[in-house]
Chain length 140, copies 2
């Protein structure tokens, strides 16, 4: 049996995770899932696209967000000891930021969290998700 | 840089995983993500709902599937060594099976994979996903 997590705890546990899954859906109504690295700042989740903008114009997560900004992000902790399971979902609205200070700040945050982004700054746009709901569950 | 995985390898790696994330979307066009245990048989993924049917009539993943059977499932392997990253997405169509031999066979498979289901048979319906596409990526 799972029980509800306090939203502040949910956000904190989400922020500490190294990977999340981004769910988007465009006109086709086919959900699209992809694992993402991310940085959390308050109620904003920032995700960067690694490649150059030209190669990303057709990337499905970006196409879907342009068609429908409603997205969900999931962090979960699985273990074969089911009394230690937990997961957190963040529902929100996504914006695509191609450049400027918002993108710079996001890259800064990401480089602080992941060493890999320090030597190699991603060339693509940033997805900024304004989280409107934190839902966490943990094994009771 | 990630490169495409052979679909057979993708399916095998997916099947070996202990947890997947199920993405569904109903009329609201808001994607819904939840971690799930599952069993794989060929191109069918079986997921069981733990609770009694009465308490699940309003469960969002079931409501969404009734509104729109298109679903996606994701298995991913994250590590801070990014040369070992991989993930597999299964796109398909979901059916909800309330009882009968399909449900019994699914419970059998799930109990074989997860000890927890042996002593305690879940009371809820089974979600059967017919996978139409296996997409796998791994760090090159």
């Amino acid at each position: 049996m799972m029980s509800r997590m306090d939203p502040d705890l949910a956000r904190r546990k989400f922020g500490d995770a190294r990977v999340a899954r981004l769910g988007t859906v465009g006109h086709s109504k086919m959900p699209h899932l992809v694992p993402v690295t991310f940085a959390l700042d308050g109620d904003q989740v920032m995700i960067v696209i690694d490649h150059k903008p030209k190669t990303t114009t057709n990337l499905r997560r970006l196409r879907n967000i342009r068609e429908n900004p409603q997205v969900a992000l999931l962090v979960d902790h699985y273990t074969d000891d089911w009394s230690a399971l937990w997961w957190v979902r963040a529902d929100g609205r996504a914006d695509i930021v191609e450049g400027g200070s918002t993108r710079d700040a996001a890259l800064e945050k990401l480089a602080k969290k992941y060493d890999q982004y320090q030597g190699h700054r991603p060339a693509g746009p940033v997805i900024v998700v304004d989280v409107t709901r934190w839902s966490g569950w943990s094994a009771a």
